[in-house]
Amino acid sequence: MTTNGNGLRWVGKRPVRPDGVDKVTGRAQFGADFTLPGMIVGKVLRSPHAHANIRSIKTEKAQALPGVKAVITAADFPELPSEIEQAGEVVLNFRDMSRNVMARQKALYDGHAVAAVAATSIEIAERALDLIEVDYEVLPHVIDVVEAMEADAPLLHDDLYTMGVEPTPDKPSNVAKRVEFSIGDLNAGFEMAEVVVEREFTTKPVHQGYIEPHAAVASASEDGLCHIWCTTQGQFMVRYYVSRLLGLEVSKLRVTPSEIGGGFGGKTVVYLEPVALALSMKCHRPVKMVMSREEVFRASGPTSGAHVWVKMGATKDGRITAGEAVLKYQAGAVPGAPIGPGCMCAFAPYDLDNVKVVGFDVVTNRPKVAAYRAPGAPISEFGVESVVDELAKKLGMDAIAFREKNAAREGTHAAYGPTFGEIGYTETLRVAKEHPHYQAPLGPNQGRGVASGFWFNIGGASTAALNVNEDGTTTLISGCPDIGGSRASLSMMAAEVLGIDVEQVRPTIADTGSIGYSFLTGGSRVTFATGMAVIEAANDVVRQLRERAAKIWEIDVEAVVWENGEAKPSGSNAGDFEPLSLSSIAATAGKTGGPITGHVSLNAQGAGPAFGTHICDVEVDRETGRVTVLRYTAIQDAGKAIHPSYVEGQIQGGAVQGIGWALNEEYIYDEDGRLENPGFLDYRIPVASDVPMIDAVIVEVPNPKHPYGVRGVGEVPICPPMSAVANAVANATGLRMADLPISPPKLLAAITNGG
């Protein structure tokens, strides 16, 4: 048996993933691949207006069309009170969620659902949509976040009063919330500063861009039992949200997740699921709904576009004395921009005494934002890391040396509250500095940029069950959809504890009726939190296996150890017995006490904060303004990489999404507030020929709160790229590009005007 030198047999290796063959042969069932007998199709009618009162909706003609089985509007959903609910990491307001799922009284953005039909064919459903008569009173709209905050801006909600300001304003506005985090004395900090940099930035809303559109099949039977099959980051989330939106008892609804074709946070909410179920409740036929790509862009959540102001000061010897930021994030149609994490992450990589961050959550006539990888953090960190770069330059210091001098370390008190335990930020900086990339020569019109990123990572509720089968193989059941290989990492941890071959662990993701509650896949929590549940379940199985061996040998359980997949007497005192393998204990389990199963539900605490540092080389074409990324290195502290290939994959994928955010991606609206680029042709995500290899370098500073040291890895990699690219462009051209994306026309204009 080979181990990794640290006594580990599987952790840190790269076995083929258990769901792999299904995915390379086309067998894996994703959301849109699921069908049921008697199934019909549902379609949504969407508002063509950015902002309009809905005076009336007439559905009679659509209803009368042969083949139409159900038509619904907001009138078919219970009217819910506006109540803010804290559910784990997420803040919910089911009234707002309900209004986003189906417009009530007002359409709030181009693409907002106003009605839906279910019919026996797509053609009939589409004809029925044409027959629905909606009487709109078009209202002035507002798309830009700064304009939305002005006193005379068109008002989206006449009952929205800014929270977090004293006294509560007596007039409604588009500002849903103000938040503030501060420590120390900002004025004193700036007084100490010998160099100050202050700058405004803007970022555009960008879409998660998962290749699989939203899809759901819902079936409601005559006795009120309901089942939804859908592509989601959390089957328990879907069950909770849909039962609240439709007023169902949770136990009446069962949700089965399909394979999921990418989410990045965008599938942590519901869109089609409650609509398909409401349609099915009316006609008792299974209803399938799949969004077109255009609907995905118009009606599912991008992340916030934002206006960011950052001011930082430092002494001549390179110590940052103060950091201040004002962040204005678009929430879209209803409140809920990721402003909290945006504020908390902004200065987190640095050990600062004087910090003030103020954030605003602002509604605009756009689709409601949804989480997108490290929600909120990339936006504020783009501003801060750009200013850090400028400060270093003004001080004549190396970009990495300047960061090292100010880096958060173990014991650093972060402005957002906690004191960091063991963290790996300085490790990523050291590795960056020593990487050959950092010393490589550059050609004309080329520049190198460095930037760092931070994300908390989260834990939360997870359940895992581990069943020992009669032949000694095992079945591992968990409740978190696997987006990027988590079945592999969970199986590896189970195999590690049991001391068996990873092939003997068969993982499945269970529906809500088959496993205990698990919070959704997101926040980089599954390998950490569900992993902890798996390890504990495996430990429980090992305990039972030792008990069974003790029983067979008629010795004390304390005298039995579990090693390399076998029960052995703990020493010569314990007796002289042939080791018992897992399969031989399993074979006789019926006689020694029944089936052997481990089952653990927990609320994982102690997620390890993670940091990354990226190095990016670009070349700027001064004739066209086009930026080409020539070389990219992404260094990240993973705590412990269970399956390094999938950790690298997360880092590489996040970096390329960030490059798209930096250079190309943006929502473009016309004067009437209609989205002009709802497709992959005009909303251009990076393709293979746009990017180089991404050298992912894993640093391992173990998270002491996890048995193997795991930190989450999925979020951090999207934080540094925007500033790494912008800093590289600044070094190539001398121009500080503060407005994303740094698209060719914008950069060309800057070069022509000032370069």
């Binding site: 993933r17 894996a28 990418g262 987006i483 290939s645 393709v687």
Partner: protein, 160 residues
């Protein structure tokens, strides 16, 4: 609605069906023939998730009408493995973790197979440009490009 009688060969098997005029080859494969391995990411020819081979040509099945494929020979992801032997590209994608969520994988595999049939020794740039019609949002393309190049390398070794 008038339907067209269509005959074609899919992964070596003769199939015959009535095709609605508007139905694309992708609709036919997925809804008529239950071959859901080809995916729909956009239905506008921009994502490549629906890549199939039609008469030796790499096409987006969402841009071809079902009726147009009458008499054609179609190869999809479902026909890529030979009995229980995975195609070397499929094997390499698994070994090198060239997929995360896997929704883009069928399209990439079909497109990469078409590349290697034309060019058994592609450079990194050739691989990147050939695959530029296939979107992947998870991997950043690194491991996909490497897997394709490593497969080419390995297949050369075998055919020598």
């Amino acid at each position: 609605m008038v339907k067209t009688h269509v005959n074609m060969t899919v992964n070596g098997e003769a199939v015959e069906f009535l095709c609605e005029t508007k139905a694309t080859l992708l609709d036919v494969l997925r809804d008529e023939l239950d071959l859901t391995g080809s995916k729909e990411g956009c239905s506008s020819g921009d994502c490549g998730a629906c890549s199939v081979i039609l008469d030796d040509r790499l096409v987006c099945a969402c841009l071809v009408l079902g009726a147009e494929a009458d008499g054609g020979n179609v190869e999809t992801i479902e026909g890529m493995a030979d009995a229980d032997q995975l195609h070397p590209l499929q094997q390499k994608f698994l070994e090198e973790a060239a997929l995360q969520c896997g929704i883009c994988t069928p399209g990439f595999l079909v497109a990469a197979k078409a590349l290697l049939e034309r060019n058994s020794n592609p450079t990194e740039t050739e691989v990147r440009y050939w695959l530029a019609g296939n979107l992947c949002r998870c991997t950043g393309y690194d491991k996909i490009v490497r897997a394709v190049m490593d497969t080419a390398e390995e297949m050369k070794g075998v055919s020598k």
